[in-house]
């Protein structure tokens, strides 16, 4: 079986600044990988590269069988990225955002309500414009979009940030549930202990590269 993510000496630039300076990485299908690293080490860039948002400058990269240097567009329908930004339209309601995202990625629109219910966004909140939500509620809406789309590869950038205790438990159970369905999850987190309990493997990023994987961390 081909790995879900395969990078070899990947270089990604922002202008003239190398975000990734030759990162090599392999994540198998169905794995939950935890990416660690200091601020500015390249964690977010790694996720954005896997989501097909950043062009590969040098090196090779394959995600879900798509060659990153050839075709990033068809990859994007199959990945879900939860970033620092939530990709939501402020003026639209939670429900409208969900339905738009589902229609855009060619999924069944009826998945919107169960997903919202799962993240306690049913009822009044479902018809509230995103502009009026709190930061935590937006985060949940973004998670609901992810859950409803159910992509093959989940890319979570600091998913726990800004969530309350209940939200964190929900997130943990979502990640566990997606693993049960055979999805691949890559998450960046500074909460090492918490993330370690969720993940199969730790990947350490520094200086725009993936460091040798520490042995003995399961």
């Amino acid at each position: 079986m081909a790995p879900a993510v395969f990078l070899h000496e990947a270089v990604v630039l922002s202008g003239r600044f190398p975000l990734l300076a030759g990162a090599s990485l392999q994540i198998e299908e169905g794995e939950i990988a935890h990416i660690r690293g200091a601020n500015g080490a390249g964690k977010t860039s790694l996720l954005r590269l896997c989501a097909g948002l950043l062009p590969l400058h040098r090196g090779a990269g394959f995600v879900l069988g798509h060659d990153l240097s050839l075709d990033r567009r068809s990859l994007r329908r199959q990945v879900g990225l939860l970033g620092h930004q939530s990709f939501l339209y402020e003026e639209l309601t939670v429900g409208e955002n969900l339905r738009y995202a589902l229609r855009a990625s060619g999924c069944d629109r009826r998945r919107a309500e169960p997903a919202a219910a799962r993240l306690s966004l049913a009822g009044r909140l479902f018809d509230t414009p995103v502009a009026r939500l709190s930061a935590g509620q937006r985060r949940r809406t973004a998670l609901a979009v992810l859950l409803a789309r159910d992509p093959a590869l989940w890319l979570l950038d600091e998913p726990h940030a800004g969530l309350d205790e209940e939200g964190r438990h929900l997130l943990d159970s979502l990640i566990a549930g997606s693993r049960a369905k055979g999805r691949t999850v890559v998450l960046c987190s500074h909460e090492h202990d918490h993330a370690a309990s969720l993940s199969d493997r730790v990947i350490v990023v520094a200086g725009g590269r993936v460091l040798q994987e520490p042995a003995g961390v399961a």
Binding site: L13, S14, P18, A21, G22, A41, A206, G207, G208
Partner: protein
């Protein structure tokens, strides 16, 4: 280097041609019956306009070559940028010399003559293109963005020219323009005119090549910077 010698030859020929054109234009050719000495402007103005259009055509072609995936190469982006910039210089000169022509023949610095109006629109159109080129960013991104802008701008040229011409001709009887005047052209005048076109085209080639070299140098500089930047970036990950 062979290309270097060709370039130097081009520059020398262009310079010599321009000097000869000026000498012929100012001192040798006779005055025309109708225009008097003003006919001498004929040896600089139309060739400016011709070179400007040539430059924009060149920028358009190389932008297309850049956008076409099989021929995509930074050199076409550089050529497009260089050619457009030289084109803007020549367009500016077209406007100034055209304006002088207008002042002397019609008594006004500006008329809404179709060619002059089209040229003025071209000038602002490509000023915008150059402004877009100057916005910093990932070189590939800048190149692609600029190539598309060059495409949009160049496609506009015939539409602008056609609509401006029609706009004028509906309004009032056709204005005095160079083509509609019966000029009795002497042999020496025709030769000077031809020489002017040829030598300014050579000047265009030389300037574009120089501008292109500047782009190449800037890219070389950035490339050397990249290797250093990669080193530095990797060094961040090594604990001190």
């Amino acid at each position: 280097m062979k290309s270097n010698r060709i370039l130097r030859l081009t520059g020398a020929l262009g310079l010599a041609g321009v000097v000869a054109t000026f000498w012929l234009g100012l001192f040798v050719t006779p005055n025309a019956e109708f225009f008097g000495s003003l006919v001498r402007l004929l040896y600089v103005h139309p060739s400016m306009a011709w070179v400007a259009f040539l430059a924009y055509g060149m920028a358009f072609l190389s932008s297309l070559l850049y956008l076409w995936p099989r021929t995509r190469h930074p050199r076409f982006d550089h050529l497009a940028g260089a050619s457009a910039e030289v084109g803007v210089v020549f367009t500016g000169l077209t406007l100034v010399t055209g304006s002088i022509w207008g002042r002397t023949t019609w008594g006004v610095w500006w008329t809404w003559d179709p060619l002059l109006t089209t040229t003025a629109l071209l000038f602002v159109l490509y000023l915008g293109y150059l402004a877009l080129r100057r916005v910093p960013g990932d070189p590939e991104v800048v190149a692609r963005r600029s190539a598309i802008a060059a495409l949009i701008a160049f496609i506009d040229v015939p539409i602008v020219y056609f609509s401006v011409t029609w706009w004028r001709s509906l309004h009032q009887p056709p204005t005095v323009n160079l083509a509609s005047r019966h000029l009795y052209v002497h042999g020496i005048m025709a030769f000077t005119l031809f020489l002017s076109f040829a030598s300014f085209t050579l000047v265009y080639a030389w300037l574009t090549a120089q501008r292109y070299r500047l782009y190449a140098l800037a890219e070389k500089e950035a490339d050397e910077g990249l290797d250093l930047a990669l080193e530095e970036r990797r060094a961040e990950g090594v604990p001190a």
